[in-house]
């Protein structure tokens, strides 16, 4: 969606061209972010630093106008991918396309993308107005147009009357808005955001998430967002890709990736998962039966089975909120999987209860139960039966035991 000033026609921004001299540019005046956003394509992109492969054969297509997140732990290659699109790193192999045009070897200032940096990287010697005007001045817009666009952009990010302030006189949240305005005012085809919230406190972060989503809807620019915060990625994105060790482990809408994790990493990194090691026993057209350690059988819909072709070892997974807790002696409902155990930890979290249940096979299972008030909550020490619908059961291929999933933050 493009916002437009009254009585103006929307022209696509003529990109990459530089006017000679400081003459006014009538073709550019009077428009409000009537920009054509573009799609982004990574084709077989690999980036090696010395002996480290930061990004490993990345193939990714981000659609125009989409809010797309690259999600992963520190060192997974998400920031490197973003920096290659911004022009700050050159891929070792592969091509990067922006709106169909190969930009792989263009310097940053020749690319129609702008970046909101993790540290904001505002110009310390310039005030808010000049920070936001920087890109427009480099492209030699005339004064009146710069003034109009900057004022308007400061309205959009809710910072009017801050023009004369220095960046050092602003709070973290305000600096972040200036960084956003400074990038957006140039009407890039794609806006790159490199963990822009990491310096904000939790409350402000949630506020800015909503704000950012609003602004994205308002300006209609493709947003490529890098974060290690899975909640943030799920809240804001149309689609996301979970990255690990330079590769994409799972990609799709947040719901899709959350509900159908295809690898053990995605299952553990994006939300929490209970994973039980097991072996495929039999495959029928409508159900796959898996024997977990200890002999219990689990049933999984065939379309939710991810496995390696070379091995019948899998991990059976279920999300903590999908599990119901029954007192011992109750019947397991039809079309449910079940496993018995003993509650070891019971925590009241306000919106619900969190239980950790020790099972006979030695795996602890986490359960989130919503606080809807009419059940007596099991206490620690109680013997219980855990049940969940077959349709909410999935499998992933197990990781080699030597690999550990490290969820540390930051980059």
């Amino acid at each position: 969606m493009a916002l437009r000033a009254e009585g103006e026609t929307a022209n696509p921004v003529e990109t990459g061209e530089r006017a000679s001299g400081k003459a006014s540019r009538p073709g550019r005046t009077g428009r409000i972010l009537a920009v054509e956003s573009a799609d982004v394509e990574f084709v077989g992109v690999t980036k090696e630093f010395h002996d480290l492969t930061a990004v490993d054969d990345l193939n990714l297509k981000v659609e125009a106008g989409e809010f797309f997140s690259l999600l992963g732990p520190s060192g997974c290659g998400k920031t490197t991918s973003l920096r290659m699109l911004g022009g700050f790193e050159e891929p070792t192999r592969g091509r990067i396309l922006l709106g169909g045009q190969d930009v792989t070897n263009l310097p940053p200032y020749r690319r129609d993308v702008n970046t909101v940096f993790q540290s904001y990287a505002l110009f310390p010697h310039l005030n808010v107005f000049e920070n936001v005007a920087f890109g427009l001045r480099r492209r030699r817009f005339d004064r009146a147009e710069i003034r109009r666009r900057v004022s308007q952009m400061l309205e959009i990010v809710d910072l009017p009357n801050y023009e004369k302030r220095l960046s050092t006189q602003l709070s973290g949240g305000q600096q972040q808005r200036v960084a956003l305005a400074r990038a957006l005012v140039n009407e890039p085809k794609v806006l790159l955001l490199d963990e822009p919230m990491s310096a904000l406190d939790a409350k402000l972060r949630r506020q800015m998430q909503i704000e950012l989503k609003r602004i994205q809807a308002q300006v209609g620019i493709t947003f490529l967002y890098v974060t290690h915060d899975q909640e943030e990625a799920m809240t804001m994105s149309n689609r996301l890709a979970v990255m690990w060790h330079g590769r994409i482990e799972g990609m799709g809408s947040p719901k899709d990736v959350y509900d159908n994790p295809t690898t053990e990493f995605v299952a553990s990194f994006l939300g929490a998962s209970n994973l039980l090691p097991g072996t495929i026993e039999s495959s029928a057209a409508d159900v796959v039966t898996i024997a977990v350690a200890g002999g219990a059988l689990m049933h999984v819909p065939p379309q939710r089975v991810s496995r390696l072709e070379t091995s019948s070892d899998v991990k059976v997974g279920v999300r903590p909120e999908k599990i119901g807790i029954l007192e011992l002696g109750n019947d397991v409902p039809a079309s449910h999987n079940a496993i018995g155990g003993r509650v070891v930890v019971s925590t009241f979290t306000g919106v619900g209860n969190q239980y950790i249940v020790e099972t006979a096979i030695g795996v602890n299972i986490t359960v989130y139960a919503q606080n809807i008030g009419h059940q007596s909550a099991p206490r620690s020490g109680d013997e219980v039966i855990l049940t969940w619908p077959i349709e909410h059961t999935f499998t992933v291929a197990p990781l080699p035991t030597s690999v550990e999933i490290n969820e540390t933050e930051g980059d």
Partner: protein, 283 residues
């Protein structure tokens, strides 16, 4: 109460040092300018004779002007020469930054006077540089540098180069590379990135470098003595002669006082223009 006194006790040695070796001699020098001395015995009596100042100014204003000119010109040469050096070390020095900085300081392991005398050899009429150029007929046989203002300025510029290069290096090193990346991201070419980001962020460093280089150069006499021959007398030389040759202690002291006042005015104007904070930051 011992704790409350601790900061004062700790600052006592340096305070005493400053008082005894800096403030007392300064006060002594200033009072000396108002005394009348017997050149034969060296005995001075306080006479509150202010007349020394106007007479010294009328006698030696030319030397003050020469000093200002030499110091300013040499400082500008230093800024032009050391900026690329500091820039290169800060941006491309990589892991060997400290090594390159050390290289910049290596000449300082040799005494100031010796270094200047070596320059005398370098610039000699038939020395390494001029001799070779004359031999190749690039320069006429009668060409000379030694004994001219150019030689003095060359010596000054050489001797004070690190005072310019180091503050510039600090200023350049401090620039957040991410801010520079942001500039490139916002359509700045390398040239625009330099002019619009690097240079403005280096300005305080440039002023600090100017001050640190200009003020000692202004009072310098060694370069002029060794390289300047009998002409191009700088005020430092005059003061030295007043004390050590003419035994005119009151005259030398009043010239020193004038030099001090000029330098203080310069620093004051600098602090008013840029704030005193910037000086502290780059020392």
């Amino acid at each position: 109460m011992g704790r409350a006194l601790a900061p004062y006790l700790l600052s006592l040695p340096s305070g005493l040092w400053l008082l005894l070796l800096f403030l007392v001699p300064l006060a002594f020098m200033l009072s000396l300018s108002l005394k009348t001395c017997n050149p034969a015995t060296g005995a001075c009596v306080m006479t509150w004779h202010w007349g020394e100042f106007p007479s010294e100014i009328s006698l030696y204003h030319q030397e003050f002007i020469t000093s200002l000119y030499f110091a300013a010109a040499s400082t500008i040469v230093d800024l032009i020469v050391s900026f690329p050096i500091a820039y290169w070390i800060a941006f491309y020095g990589g892991r060997r930054k400290n090594f390159f900085l050390l290289m910049l300081l290596v000449p300082f392991f040799v005494s100031f006077v010796i270094r200047t005398i070596v320059w005398e050899f370098v610039l000699a009429d038939n020395g390494v540089v001029l001799g070779t150029l004359k031999h190749l007929h690039v320069l006429p046989a009668g060409f000379h540098v030694l004994g001219t203002g150019v030689a003095v300025m060359a010596g000054l510029a050489y001797n004070y180069l690190p005072f310019t290069a180091l503050p510039l290096y600090v200023a350049l090193e401090r620039i957040d590379r991410r801010v520079l990346e942001a500039a490139y991201d916002l359509y700045a070419t390398r040239r625009a990135g330099f002019l619009r980001v690097i240079l403005p962020l280096t300005v305080p460093g440039i002023f600090a470098a100017f001050l640190l280089t200009f003020i000692p150069m202004f009072g310098d006499y060694v370069n002029q003595e060794i390289l300047g021959g009998t002409s191009n007398t700088m005020i430092g030389t005059v003061i030295q002669n007043q004390f050590l040759v003419n035994f005119d202690f009151a005259g030398g002291a009043s010239l020193s006082a004038i030099l001090l006042v000029i330098a203080l005015i310069g620093i004051y104007l600098y602090a008013r223009l840029l704030g005193s904070r910037t000086i502290e930051q780059y020392l």
